[in-house]
Amino acid sequence: MWKTVARRTVIMIPQIFLLSILVFLLAKAMPGDALTGLLDPSIDPAAIEAQRERLGLNNPWYVQYWDWITKAVQGDFGQSFRFKLPVAELIGQRMMNTIWLSLATLVLTYLIAIPLGIISGRYHDTWADRFITGYTYLGFAAPLFIFALLMLWVFGFHFGWFPTEGSVTPGTKPGTWAYAASKIYHILLPALSMALITTVTTVQLLRSEIIDTKQKDFITTARAKGASESRVYNRHILRNSMLPIAAFFGYEITGLIGGTVFIESIFSYPGMGELFLSSISLRDFSVVTALVLLYGAASILGALISDLILGIVDPRIRIK
């Protein structure tokens, strides 16, 4: 297996390299640059031009790309024009927030999806099943940002059960229990809002897999051999039905990192998704390119994780 990991990692390098060129070209193709929005008549255009020159924005793209990639491989992603901070430091600040949020969402997603999927699949065409599939259709139809706003309004403002913005109560000291508790408390509502929507795909997938597996010959065989109903479901059906879910796991992670964009902005939760969007509109190229690379690397990694998990869960599949 380690061989596979090594080989896949090696393949990743040219992939990321290609991605980086593409991203760089696309970023440069956007009209304007970080200085375009800086319309201030009291600043001499010559001074702005000098700053462009200093930042290397006037060089041809391949020169700019070379400057950027040589530094990037050394871990220096440049300076954010807007934040006046090294990009790596800036992303580092935001990444932990996004990771915690994604992790919480992931846990909640599976906590919701697995029981619902099992109930719905095992007792299909009952009222419980209809109720659950009804919910999944609603989930498919509801746009995440509207749903999140609704959740925020109901549980944040109307009932006041959850904090409505930020990642931590202002003024709590980092490193204390109160701080950690406050962080978790702040994550709950955004994570739940997102999980309730993203989980519906998994519920549906699990349901149809279970229904599908139920009718397979080996299940009939197992029943004929006198296996108890719970054994049939827990050992035979569930294990087989979990395969596609497991395969999906890696992609789920990547999807989450991207999917937090709306949630982060609605809950005023400073994370990477929000950083990505605002950096695009402000043409903060160094941040945009670094983030796209990060997302790219994450999705390639996600695919790798999915393959590995699949190999572990299903002995029939072995990656050579």
Binding site: G37, I43, A46, K84, L85, P170, G171
Partner: protein, 612 residues
Amino acid sequence: MKRKRLFLPLILALMVMLAACTSGGGNGNGGNDPAPSEGENSPAPTESAKPPEDDGLYSIEDFSNVKKNEGEPIEGGSLTFGLVSDTPFEGTLNFNFYSGDPDSQVLGWFDEGLLTWDKNYVYTNDGAATYEVSEDGRTFTFTIRDNVNWHDGKPVTAEDWLFAHEVIGDPKYDGPRYDSNFTNIVGMTEYHEGKADTISGIEVLNEKQLKITYVQSTPSLLTGGVWSYPLAKHIFGNMPVDKISSSPEVREKPIGFGPFKVESIVPGESVVYSKNTDYWRGEPALDEVVLKVINPTTVIQQLESGSVDLVDSFPVDQYPDNADMSNVEFLGNIDRAYTYIGFKLGKWDAEAGKVAPDPNAKMGDVNLRKAMWHAVDNDQVGKRFYHGLRWNATTLIPPSHPEYHDASNPGLAYDPELAKKILDEAGYKLNGDYRTKPDGSELVIHFISMTGGDIAEPLARYYVQSWQAIGLNVQLEMVEFNTFYDRVGANGEDDPKVDVYQGAWGVGIDVDPAGLYGRDAIYNFPRYASEEQDKLLAAGISAEAFDVKKRQDIYKQWQQLMVEEIPVFPTLYRAVLAPVNKRVLNYAIGDGTGIYLHQLAVSQDKPFVAEK
């Protein structure tokens, strides 16, 4: 806020794309300055937030910019300030370095400028420093008050003030402040280019006194032309200039001399301040202020539930639905901004650094421009689209500058029949649905406008329809903020396809419009120039313009000239609204109200909650 930059671009809808706004260094509403300077008379607190009239329209005249004080202040207390933004604040927490408006909102609580200004934006002697001007108007002597100290107890000195100038003038300086106000200091250019080790025009007289000599004496010096934010030399003195903005002393433990001290910061989302008992104006009434970033989509709920007492900006389009929110009082003020329609009349000559008007430009005929102004009904636009909270604009100096805005100048009124007549007489003949040029060739006018907000597109469409109604074939294109300014020529490369555009400017506290309409201004997007205008603009900042009457007359003439020549025409002026929880006392928006942050107090422990 307390920034002195002169003009800032505005996008059409404040609520959407605040990010884009901050790229321009703030949304230019400047109406939330919590520490305005003492004016000789503060506006009388009139009854504010009147119930809507029958037609559902509101008027800025019904709002006061000073909070009614109801109840007695309690001892101490804590207040929550909502920074309305869909992006976290950047965290460059020093006046000498920040660039976005969110940061300036964070800064305003713990730091301030040494000079304050009155409601006409003229520097007063009520601030942390006083000033005297020499006979020739070029040399300013500043004296910092003895009791002005940094939060760490060290005195704010003339040396600190000089240091701020040295850092901003340094070629390695990475902030946006090195502008014409700095190049106007004697010896600054030499220092900036490395030809001199010191700035010859700045002299430290003693610990608390500083003398600055300027190259040119203009009335603009008194309205925001002086850099008044010192930089603590005992903290930053040994740092390389290009490392200051990312240092922890700017980002994590920022320092100032304002009424509150920074207690703790969660990057991008919240700040807790405690009172600075050593504040030079006196000990603040509040014990604590909490600032938190809130999303524009939730601002109403935050206010209703009392989660925030104050906000830095309020989406005006949500006012009609929430005008009767029971736990807040809405304050209002006229924004230092206007929306306008511009006509491209030439190109930018980068070589010469001047505009190059083209007499043969498609929009070059003043009659065509005049007809297009007469064709649009901005009064109705304000009423229909903005419930009266934006209203018909008449001249290019908005009423936020009451001293210079010429209220007697009516601009050009809505009169489509007159518009048609003007076009007929100028030779634009109807040929089928649309008119042709006087030489008989086809006339297609390309109009671009910015996206953003729900109103942007319908509004642009309204203008197109109005122009089509007088027989002009106008083609609309909606573009995003960066693209828009790129194409109208923010980089000097004007897109020749653009004939007409709709933009907005937030204007600075100084009235001089040369940065937007002068011959050598790259932001003169219409690329208009005339000798008469050159004369007026020069006169407006000449020595004789120190006489306010004289200066008023000059800018009155300029406003009239712009109404006659119409390189651009203003469409709407706008209101800023600020909801304030009823428990908040001693609060005002706008300039020169004489109400300061250290007086801010609350009448009860918990905020009022809206009754449903």
